[in-house]
Amino acid sequence: MLTNLFPNVDWERMWAATYETLYMTAISTVVTFILGLLIGIVLFLTSPHQLWANKIVNFLTGSLVNIFRSIPFIVLIILLIPFTKFLLGTIRGANAALPALIIGAAPFYARMVLIALREIDRGVIEAARSMGAKTSTIIWKVLIPESLPALISGITVTAVALVGYTAMAGIIGAGGLGNLAFLDGFQRNRSDVTLMATILILVVVFIIQWIGDMITAKTDKR
């Protein structure tokens, strides 16, 4: 029945593209989470009145974040070609898209981390200090656990954005559903391919959002 509704769809390619999208999204989300968290923590702790308050570091980090956030993703892919080649030895394929995906998304997530950390009650950090906690303890046992729901909902938003970005990664041969929708669907005027690919992207996004919401609710003990 599906073949009648979607005559032009090459199912093998469709599943392959789905896998490529999931692969790129999953890996870039995980690395973005780690990198963005680190940058966000630095941004937070170097803010005025915080434990590592340092105007210069704070300003430089903030500026880098703003710069990379502002670069259009497709331009970022091209700008990062030498770096990607150096790091991975290739600039083709799903892996080659990862540096640009990560470097584009991490600053975006870092800002969300900063917002999440700012929401933590200052008194709790003060209490931890009064108990003799060192900064690494405060980071791992206070900052992160106390802002976890916001951190999770933030990375969920970022993951959904990354699904969109992966579509553009198709230009360097990374594949993915967005790329398939464009090349096979739009360029060849086969709207059933476009439709099917879009439906599959929607399903991926729904699942990501659902997982994110579930984890956020579970970690929120307030």
């Binding site: 091209i78 070609i81 080649k85 290739t90 600039i91 083709r92 394929g93 360097i172 990374a174 739009f186």
Partner: protein, 286 residues
Amino acid sequence: MKKLLAGLFLSVLVLALAACGAGKKDDASSGASTEDKTDSKENVTLTVGASNTPHAVILEKAKPILAKEGIDLKIETYTDYVLPNQDLASKDLDANYFQHIPYFDLQIKDNGYDFVNAGSIHIEPIGIYSKKYKSLEDLPKGATILLSSSVSDHGRMLSLLEAKGLIKLKDGVDKTAAEIKDIAENPKNFKFDANTAPEMLVQMYENNEGDAVLINSNYAIDNGLNPIEDAIALEESEKSPYLNIIAVRAGDETKPEIKKLVEVLTSKEIQDFMLEEWKGAVLPVK
């Protein structure tokens, strides 16, 4: 219910805005051309969509010549191969100059456009490029050959490989529409990677991706490559079907300004310019 309707309306609005905004680079004044009677002379405005190189460059050269004939040429540049035809169909363009005949035919077949070839102008022989190997014979067994992800390019690229004796296509296959699955013999067991967008092929070549890369000449020239000097193999241009044409909506080919455009583009002045500028990478039609 109200919320659902509001949401739907918003989504449609956003999609509509997105569709209108995509693609075009220069010149926001892309209105349909009309008989522009603002000048004291009887001036005609002609809006032509073109690829960056060499098409737009050639048009720029032709612009003053056309101006003398009372034709005000407006050039719209495009970075892709789909929108110029869409915009021609929607009357945002009067003509476009970026595609060769086989691609033109495929686009008409896929989209049902009512277009006509107003005249052939030049050929850009496609080239095979390799940083690792100096000639086709040097390509080792199992070498990776990179092709454009635009399937309509494959016929041409595969025909070139066949012409150079590297592969053989199945009998009875229309060479201009051949696809990778139509390869009958592949003695050196080449691997074909057709995932890269055409505009990124030069980057792949520059970064040593794969063993050989087939690159459309306009992108090659755009990125500083010279097909004549840098390619390890070049397409034969005699009897090639890959003529770059001026395409117009059916009926417009008889318009005087269109005829004039084709005349100027095939004039000695412009043809000499092509040869001088690109030294054989862009060959004017005889």
